[in-house]
């Protein structure tokens, strides 16, 4: 039985705004085992990035975790004070941010930025050891170590993304969160990076949460997939099950909304409407206004997120679309 | 030179060069060849896809076709009701008139509308600028278009502001604006790439439907081959300012011949975890076409290139059979 690096239970997080609370994350449950890659997929506003910043407790001033547990190797991070959490951040759990350029300080060289994290968390390492480690990290992500003393703006987009991954790996975390790392990249660069990420994950037997709105990328990179909608987890199962046997109507709709270059050219099915405003989410199941199978119970009661069969979880009153 | 009956847009030897490092008082001799010697024929009523990665020149081509940029060289012949007109050399009043025939749909639904103008103003702008119709005529036309693009009832959308609409709705407004003065040719620059997935399909289906119903000819610029497959009858693949392959959609996707097209197709992730992609055969990273040397522009990255490719100019586009054009010596 492989142990879980991360267990998230009933995680709820709200933003406080002038117009009222925004229910960004509601009762989210999932776990990530050692060496496993879990993909979180969903559209804008579904809560996937909110989950990521909650896991690292990098919340802005107006965000609050209302309830739940984030068990990292058994330790709950939520009640910990900032000073305590800092010991875990980067050392046990780290993150590759969206838009790599924003994650790097333009006035420091790439090497200096990687060293900064290492000096904080690995105080026992000697300078020589750290130097070697930086070189090793560069090679691991597919960068030439001789570029380490350059500045971020001198790198291309793909190279910067690799550098950010190197930074995230620098302290050998148990789990890494990657938030849309390839979104801004061209497809050929993206392909090389995805293959590299998979390779690194395999070599280091590292757990990973990969966040993206692109289901094709998620399909390639994940062992299990969680589909988020309007702040809640709609469905979670193995990658194959999600793609070939989805049971939540949103997942089903999502699958048929992606054009593909392989296979038969099929008509794309449109999901009517738009993702809901999280200031005033619909009552009951938040997908009910757009769901072709919605009935009264869907509009009144929130369906529980439960195991429908063999670890295939979904929150739906009519899984598979049956009435 | 006669132009065929069905050819709507005939592009010949289109080039755009940008000087690098010039100042107010100095000239530069380094140029970025964003678009080089582009040749393309677009038939009336068809949707043509222009596909490529960033820096390949597809957006620049779009801007040249709508004259947001002036071409350095070349002809763009538009087959209008009044005969064939070379857009590339138009000026002044003629340029303004041509604007009635070619319109554009932009990528960013948030920035392509003036936040201080109402939806009515945005859609009616082409009519306003070109002096078409009275106020009542315009209101009618705007209402008609709003209904056509699915924003009904029109009265409730006409006098709202862009920030009150969602991304998908805004893009529909963008489509309405592009079609308001009934152009014969529309350039769509990545119209769905900034939209949520579940919203994208609605907009794409709308565009296809309108293409059929109103016989609009599209040039669909995108980096997403899957979207291009869905939207386009024929696809042209661009690399560093040149078209390297050009064929009917299914033909291109199933029998790609140029090594770049093959690399591109094999790199696209597939939303099916059981699908094994072919390995991507390409070397090195993308570069900028600055003062390019007279050899095949794909030489540095091509897995099949040899000395012949290095010693000869960039290969011309040739018909390899069944209207499948490829620019490669090794095919």
């Amino acid at each position: 039985m492989v142990e879980n690096v991360l267990e998230v239970k009933d995680l709820t997080m709200h933003y406080t705004t002038r117009k009222g609370p925004v229910f960004a994350v509601d009762d989210v449950n999932f776990h990530v085992a050692r060496g496993e890659s879990v993909g979180l997929v969903g559209e804008s506003g579904c809560g996937k990035t909110s989950i990521a910043i909650s896991l690292l407790k990098l919340l802005p001033d107006n965000a609050d975790i209302k309830k739940g547990q984030i068990l990292l190797n058994g330790t709950d991070l939520i009640p910990l004070a900032e000073a305590e959490v800092r010991k875990y951040r980067w050392r046990r759990i780290s993150m590759v941010f969206q838009a790599a350029m924003n994650a790097m300080n333009p006035v420091y060289t790439v090497e200096e930025q990687i060293l900064e994290a290492m000096q904080q968390h690995l105080p026992d390492m000697s300078d020589a050891e750290m130097d070697e480690k930086v070189d090793a990290l560069f090679r691991l992500v597919g960068l030439d170590p001789s570029f380490k003393d350059q500045y971020p703006h001198q790198y291309s987009g793909g190279m910067r993304q690799r550098a950010v991954i190197a930074m995230a790996l620098s302290c050998d975390p148990d789990i890494i969160l990657a938030d849309e790392p390839t979104t801004a990249l061209d497809v050929i660069v993206q392909d090389a990076l995805l293959k590299r990420i998979r390779k690194i994950q395999g070599e280091l037997n590292m757990a990973m949460i990969y966040i993206s709105h692109d289901i094709a990328v998620i399909a390639e990179v994940s062992d299990r997939v969680g589909v988020m909608y309007a702040g809640r987890m709609a469905e979670m199962a193995s990658t194959e099950a999600i793609f070939h046997y989805p049971i939540h109507p949103y997942t089903m709709g999502l699958m048929s909304a992606f054009p593909s270059i392989v296979g038969e050219k099929t008509a794309l099915v449109t999901l009517p409407g738009e993702p809901p405003d999280l200031l005033n989410p619909p009552p009951g199941c938040r997908f009910n206004p757009r769901c072709p199978y919605a009935t009264d119970i869907c509009k009144e009661e929130t369906p529980p997120f439960k195991d429908h069969e063999n670890g295939h979880f979904a929150a739906c009153w009519h899984p598979g679309g049956e009435k | 030179m006669t132009v065929q009956e069905d050819v709507l847009v005939n592009i010949e030897h289109l080039s755009k060069l940008f000087p690098v490092g010039a100042g107010v008082f100095s000239r530069s001799d380094t140029y970025v060849h964003a678009v080089s010697d582009l040749n393309l024929k677009i038939m009336s009523g068809e949707s043509v896809g222009l596909v490529g990665e960033s820096g390949c020149g597809k957006t620049t081509t779009g801007k040249l076709l709508t004259r947001l940029l002036d071409p350095t060289e070349g002809k763009i012949e538009l087959n209008t009701y009044e005969g064939v007109v070379d857009i590339a050399s138009l000026r002044g009043k003629n340029l303004k008139k041509f604007r009635q025939m070619v319109q554009m749909i932009f990528q960013d639904p948030y920035e392509s509308m003036n936040p201080r103008l109402t939806i009515y103003d945005t859609i009616a702008e082409p009519m306003d600028v070109q002096g078409i119709g009275s106020i009542t005529d315009r209101e009618e036309r705007v209402a008609e278009l709003l209904e056509t693009v699915g924003l009904a009832p029109a009265a409730s959308f006409m006098f709202r502001y862009p920030h009150e609409l969602s991304g998908g709705q805004r893009q529909r407004v963008a489509i309405a604006r592009a079609l308001v003065i009934a152009p014969i040719f529309v350039v769509a620059d990545e119209p769905t790439s900034m939209l949520d997935v579940s919203v994208r399909t609605g907009v794409m289906n709308l565009m296809r439907e309108l293409a059929d119903r109103l016989s609009v000819t599209y040039l669909y610029i995108t980096h997403d081959l899957a979207v291009a497959r869905y939207m386009c009858d024929r696809i042209a693949v661009m690399y560093l300012g040149k078209i390297v392959e050009w064929a009917e959609t299914e033909e291109l996707l199933h029998h790609p011949q140029h090594p770049y097209t093959r690399a591109l197709l094999s790199a696209v992730p597939v939303p099916d975890p059981t699908f094994e992609r072919e390995p991507v055969e390409i070397k090195g990273g993308i570069s900028k076409p600055v003062n390019p040397l007279p050899l095949c522009r794909f030489y540095e990255r091509c897995p099949r290139a040899d000395d012949f490719c290095k010693n000869n100019d960039h290969p011309p586009l040739e018909d390899k059979g069944a209207a499948h054009f490829v620019a490669c010596y090794k095919v």
Binding site: T17 | K96, M113, N114, Q130, E147, R177
Partner: protein, 313 residues
Amino acid sequence: MTTQTKIVPIPLWRVRLKLFWKSLRSSWALFAENPVGLIGLGMIIFFGLFALAHPILMNTVWEPRVYHPTMGYDMEIAFHPSQPSARHLLGTDPLGRDVLSQLMYSTRYEFVLGILSAVVTVVIATTIGAVSAYYGGIVDTLLMRFVDLVIMVPFLPILIVMSSLIKIGMLELALVIGVLSGFGSTAIVVKSQALLVKVKPFIEAARIAGGGDFHIIFKHMLPNLLPIALLYMMFVVTGAIFSEAVLSFFGLTTIEMSWGLMINITQTQGYLMRFDTWFLLIPASLAITLLCAAFYLVGRALDEVVNPRLRRR
């Protein structure tokens, strides 16, 4: 497929008016959130009423012979300046005129001066900023170098020199201040905003619709530049009132009555640094400070309306 669409029955101009009113109300709501802005606005309203009160008082309670701000003289009091009393709430100045009356009378000119300068500034700065940003190249270079020149040259000495060449009354002063500010840093601020607007896709969209330079500058750029120009207008008012005060203090203007002039009279008659004639100095100084502060506070609050990033969540 399209159903017969009803023509919107309300005429267009009325719709626009309604929308304008709605946007004004929401801007007000944002403005009112900030107590600073409300304080500033309150002070401006107070001064407005203060100015309006003067002609009313002159026509009712106050005898013009005694209370006229420039020509009044109170013969019933032996020595001028006289201390504040029931008759003269803020006393009389060395020339026997009621101080309160002078204060109230000047207020309207301060307003006129401030607002006139500000309007001139906004018109010039917005035009330069928009044209400079839109055309770029040699036009931009020339205009910006001229602006640099204007900024470099010290403001007050110019006014002092000018005052020796021409007679500077209220109108002339307002125009000069307006022109000098208009070609100053406000133009640069507007230009940088215009540069941001120029590259937005909706400008390209306007061009594709067939819009020429004129259409784009007037229909698209200016409406997006006015908020920031209006904001800076507030600061110009502050500067104008203050500059007038300084110039009048030095006696360089031909303005017949203003707060600065009140202080000038105080100084030339030798009553400046005396505690017992505080009423000659303090009210006028306070008025200048408070009115300038009022406009500045309003400007700060407007900043939050114009610049959404400054707003609290």
